[in-house]
């Protein structure tokens, strides 16, 4: 079982968002492979934890992906790929995956699941599935946990949200 944080964005109370953080992950290559193969059991946004500045950073990308999903204007395949895309300041989806998505070498992993209206997916089920699938140390997601993880130099605080918000406009 993995530690799962359930996030509700204030204006979207009926859309739970499940977030798990893992350190010392050893099977990133396998996980990434599941995404490439579009394995339906692995519908997550798998992010490289070093590229996430703060919970706020992740929440802003999540908001944009969810809002665009509700408005039916996703630019990528589904809400999970949209989340990865939302993080990027440019309009190139492949580039977004290279920069913010899981790499074979990833050791700090953020897994996000947005079930939208699927009632079968719960914090429980996500916890169980991730606990089985990810080989690594599950830690509680939060400001503190990210502090040691983020590569601050790669990101610029205070600007990043605005650049994300305005991308593609």
């Amino acid at each position: 079982m993995a530690t799962v944080e359930t996030l509700y964005l204030p204006h979207y109370p009926s859309y739970p968002i499940y977030i798990s953080l893992f350190k010392n992950v050893s099977n990133a290559k396998f996980l990434r492979q599941q995404l490439l193969e579009a394995n339906a059991a692995f519908e997550y946004a798998f992010l490289d934890g070093t590229m996430i500045l703060s919970p706020r950073h992740l929440h802003a990308a999540t908001f944009r992906a969810l809002n665009d999903s509700v408005y039916n204007r996703l630019k990528s395949r589904n809400i999970h790929s949209e989340l990865v895309f939302s993080l990027s300041p440019n309009n190139n989806i492949a580039d977004a995956y290279r920069r913010f998505g899981i790499q074979d070498s990833t050791t700090s992993l953020l897994a996000i699941k947005i079930p939208l209206s699927n009632p079968e997916i719960t914090a429980e089920s996500v916890s169980k599935h991730l606990g089985d699938a990810v080989e690594g140390e599950s830690v509680a997601f939060g400001e503190e946990a990210l502090k040691g993880v983020t590569d601050v130099k790669a990101l610029r605080k205070g600007v990043i949200l605005g650049m994300m918000a305005l991308k593609g406009t």
């Binding site: 204030p10 204006h11 706020r56 908001f63 809002n67 509700v70 949200l161 605005g162 305005l166």
Partner: protein, 276 residues
């Protein structure tokens, strides 16, 4: 939108676009173009200022959409540019380009207008016990004015002109953990302004009329508008504004030329600056 105008401070559901339709938001200000609400967006603990430009019923729908979109993006882009260059402005948290809203990071603190409102009336000359404290206050206030001048100078230096630079659009950021001061509340006639909270960083807000410009004329008009706002806020604010200009003049290369241009603008009695 044909109902009576909403009341400021009221927490009422308004005809806002999704996802704000069903959330009661607190209305802070209603300008000619935009409504500003306090709400949350990314988590329940962190407030944001939601600036919404409602459709104007008098405008042709196509024209309305085109204008709202262009203005919203211009404002957001100026803010991101400022942030990137290190000018203190609210962070752009999210935008709803088609829906006409932008969510901005909340700035905790009060306005320079609030500080000025609470300034001189409490210190009549016939009040000797306060004298020493007054001297100290003066110094802190002058420090604040210097920071205002440098903040405006920095904004101009990076190529942005504000377009509506009033004392209400200059905020003093409250330091973390510091208590809200009474004099920070705008609009009220508070006479007990203390020294606390005057040493915060200056944050520029409301870039709804901002332009990306390096024209001396635009910069000088910014200063003129601010000068008028100072004068309108308090009759004896003049020495304070002198300090703003002094600090501005030293803040970047080219500032001195703008100060000379300001004198021309004053001479012309710039008709379009009826600020108050």
């Amino acid at each position: 939108m044909s109902t009576a105008p909403p009341t400021i401070g009221a927490t009422t559901p308004l005809p806002l676009p999704s996802p704000f339709t069903h959330s009661p938001l607190t209305l802070l200000t209603q300008g000619a173009e935009a409504l500003v609400f306090r709400t949350t967006l990314l988590n329940a603990a962190t407030p944001v200022a939601l600036k919404y430009r409602p459709p104007k019923p008098y405008r042709h729908p196509l024209l309305d959409k085109r204008l709202t979109r262009a203005r919203l993006l211009a404002e957001a882009r100026v803010l991101v540019k400022c942030a990137r260059e290190g000018v203190q402005v609210p962070e752009v948290v999210a935008v709803g380009v088609e829906e006409g809203w932008v969510a901005l990071g909340w700035v905790e603190g009060g306005t320079v207008r609030g500080v000025l409102d609470g300034y001189t009336p409490s210190h009549p000359p016939s009040h000797p016990p306060g004298e020493q404290k007054d001297g100290q206050r003066e110094e802190v206030l002058m420090g604040l004015m210097g920071r205002v001048g440098r903040a405006v100078g920095r904004m101009h230096e990076v190529g942005v002109c504000h377009g509506d630079l009033t004392t209400s659009n200059l905020m003093v950021r409250r330091k973390e953990g510091e208590k809200a001061q009474e004099h920070f509340e705008t609009g009220g006639g508070h006479h007990t302004a203390g020294l606390e909270g005057l040493d915060g960083e200056i944050v520029l807000i409301d870039f709804g009329l901002a332009t990306q410009s390096i024209q001396d004329e635009d910069r000088a008009v910014d200063l003129y508008v601010l000068e008028r706002a100072f004068a309108a806020t308090h009759p004896v604010a003049e020495p304070l504004f002198r300090e703003v200009l002094r600090a501005y003049g030293e803040s970047y290369k080219g500032a001195k030329v703008v100060l000379r241009r300001l004198e021309d603008v004053r001479m012309r009695g710039r008709k379009r600056s009826m600020l108050g």
